[in-house]
C-alpha cells in the first residue's frame, strides 16, 4: 500500500475538523473537531517520520498529545462551567464581552 494514502487521510481528517470548527456552534462538537485536527496532524507527523526514516515526527506527535491532553482538561472545564451558568453549550451564547 502506498504510504501517501496516510497523508490523504490526514488531509481529509483535518479538513473535516476545520469545517466542523467553522460551521458548528455546539462547543463540545467544536472541541472534538479541534481534537480531530490535532490527531490529523499527528497522523501526518508519524507518516513523515516513517517516510524519512527517523523519529523526529514521532517525538513531535507525542508533544502534540501532551498539549492536547492539557487542552482537554482546561477546555472541558470551561465548557462545563459555561454550561452550568447558561444552560447552553452554544458558543454564540457566550457573548458577554460583545458590546
Amino acid at each position: 500500500m502506498d504510504i501517501s494514502n496516510y497523508l490523504y487521510l490526514s488531509v481529509i481528517l483535518f479538513t473535516i475538523g476545520a469545517l466542523g470548527v467553522l460551521i458548528r456552534r455546539n462547543a463540545i462538537v467544536i472541541f472534538m473537531c479541534i481534537e480531530l485536527m490535532l490527531n490529523a496532524s499527528n497522523l501526518a507527523l508519524v507518516t513523515f517520520s516513517r517516510i524519512n526514516g527517523n523519529l523526529d515526527g514521532q517525538v513531535a506527535s507525542f508533544f502534540t498529545m501532551v498539549v492536547a491532553a492539557c487542552e482537554v482538561v482546561v477546555g472541558l472545564a470551561i465548557i462545563v462551567t459555561i454550561y452550568r451558568s447558561r444552560r447552553s453549550a452554544s458558543v454564540d451564547d457566550a457573548s458577554l464581552l460583545k458590546n
Partner: protein, 629 residues
Amino acid sequence: MRTSSQLVYLIALPLLSSAILLLLGRIADKWGHLLATLVSASAFGFGVQQFLQMHKQPGSNRAVTQKLFDWISVGTFKVDASLLLDQLSICFVLLITGVGTLIHIYSIAYMSHDKDRRRFFAFLNLFIAAMLLLVLGDSYLNLYVGWEGVGLASYLLIGFWNQNPVYAVAAKKAFVANRVGDLGLSLAIMISFAQFGTASFSGVAAGAPHASSAALTAIGAMLLLAAAGKSAQFPLQSWLGDAMAGPTPVSALIHAATMVTAGVYLITRSNFIFDASSTARMMVIAVGVITLLFGAIVGTAKDDIKKALAASTMSQIGYMILATGLGPVGYAFAILHLLTHGFFKAGMFLGAGSVMHGMDDEVNMRKYGGLAKVMPVTAITFGLGYLAILGVPPFAGFYSKDKIIETAFNSGGSKAIVIGGAALLGAGITAFYMTRVVVLTFAGARRWKSEAHPHESSFLMWAPMVVLAIGSVASGFLLSMGSALVNWLQPVVNASHVASGKELMKPMTVSVLALGVVVLGAGYAIIKYRAVAAEAPEKVSIFTRAARMDLGQDIVNDKVFVKPGFALTAGLVAVDYKVIDGAVRLVGWLINEISDVLRKIQNGYVRSYALMMLIGVFICVLILWMVTA
C-alpha cells in the same frame, strides 16, 4: 560732529505728555490742553535754543548727534537708535514745533465745546513727537519709526469724530493709502541694507557713489513711492481730500503744514541717491508736475472750503516735489517753499476753521459770501495768506514759488520748457481757484442760511492766525535774503552750483510771466464768481464735472484696485473652501466609507475569525508553493 545728550527730550517730552493725557483719562480734562500746549511751546523753545547754538558754529560743524541705544545687534549687523540734528532737521523742528504750538493754542478755543478735547490734545502731542522723530532720526530705520508714528497720529486725528461713519472711512482710506507708500519705504530700507549693509544716512551717502545705477534707481523709485503716499502725490493722492474729515486744526497742522511735507523731507534727505540717478530724478519731476496740475485742477471745482484748500496743498507739495527733482539747486528751494507754505497754508486753514466756527460748521463756500465785514481779522489774515500763495511780491510765495518755476525753466534740455510751462500754468490755475475761494467766502452777496450768525472768533483763535499771517508776509523775504536758506542748507544738500551758466530765462522774466498768469487767473475768477448761486449748478461742462469728482481718482482706485482686490480675496476664499478644505474633507469621507466596509468583518464570532485565519494560511501556503515551485 558734535554730540549732545539733550536731543532726546525734544521727542520724549511730547510723547510723555501724550501718554499722561491718555492714561490719566477724565482726571486730566481740566488742564490737559494746557499741559499739551505748554509742552509743545517748550519744545519750540528748545528748538530755538538749539538753532541759536547751531548758528554760532561754522557750516561744517553744525550737525549734532545723539546715540540713544543699540537698537539691533546681531553679529556684524548693527543698527543704532540715534538722533541727528543738522541744518535740514532744524528747519523742520522749528516749523513743526512753531506752527504746532500756534495750532495748539488755536485748538484750545476751537475744540472748547468738544467733550474729548483732552484726547485731541494727546493725539496732537503724539503727532508732534512722531514728526520730530521722523526728522531727527539719523537712519532710514529711525525715520521709519517716526514715519509710521505720524501715520498713526494722522489716522487717529482724521477719525477723531469717528462716531460719523464717513469720517471713520476717511481715516481708514488715509491709513491704507499711506500703507502703500510705507511699503515703498520699507523696500527702500531693505535694498539699502542689501546694497550698503546699513541704512544710516551717512552710510548710504558714503556708499551711493560706488553703487550700481540700477540699485540707486530702485531705491529712488521706492523712496518716491513712500513720498507719494505720505505727501498725497500722484498716484496715491486720493486720501488727502477725504482727510479733511478731521477737525480743522488737524488739517492745518498735519495735512497742510507738516506731515504731508514729510515726502519732500525724505527726498531732500536722500539727495545723495537722487543726485546719482537721473532716472529717479526724472520720475520725481514727473510725479511733481502731474500732481501740481492735478491738485490745481481739482481745486477749481470744490465747493467745500477745506477740500479746496486740500487740493491746493496737494498742488503746492507737487511744486516742492518738482523742485527736489531738479537736482542740487532745487532742494533748497523746495525747503524754502515748504517753510513759506507751512505759514500761509496753515494760516489759511485756521482762517477756514474760523469761518466754519462762525458759520455753524458750514463748509460749503456757496453758503458763505460777504464775510469780510463780519470777520475782519479772519479776512485780513486769510487775504495775506492768499497773496502769499499767489506769489504776489513781496509776499512769501513770490520768493519760493517763482524760484521753483525759474529753476524748472533753467533745468536744461527741451524738457525744461515743458516742466517750466506746467509750473507756470499751475501758478495761473492756483491764482484762479484761490481767488475763487476768497471771492466766494469773503466778498459778494451774503448767501448764508437763515439761522447763521457769523461772528469774529475769540482772541485765542485769531492770535495764531495773525502770527501765521505775519509769517506769510515776511518769511519768504527773510529766508531768501542774501540766499540765507540756500547757504544754510548747502552743507546738507551740496547745492554748490546755484547758477548753471546757460539760463533759458532770467529771474526777472520769470517773475513777470508768473505775475502775468496770476493776474489772468485771478481776474478771470473775479469776473466769473462775482455773483454765484447758493446752490451748485447742475448743468456744467464735462471738465467741471471731472474736476468735481477729483478727475476720477476714486473711480480709478475702485476699478483698478478695490474691485480686483475683492475679487481676488473672494477667489482665494473659494480656493480655500473648495480645494484645501475639500481635500481634508475628502480624506475624512474616504476613511469613513472604507471603515463602513471593513467594520462588517469585525462581527464578534470566533468562527468567522477562524475562517479568516484559515483563508490567510491557505493564501500563505499557496504563495509559498508558487515561490518554491
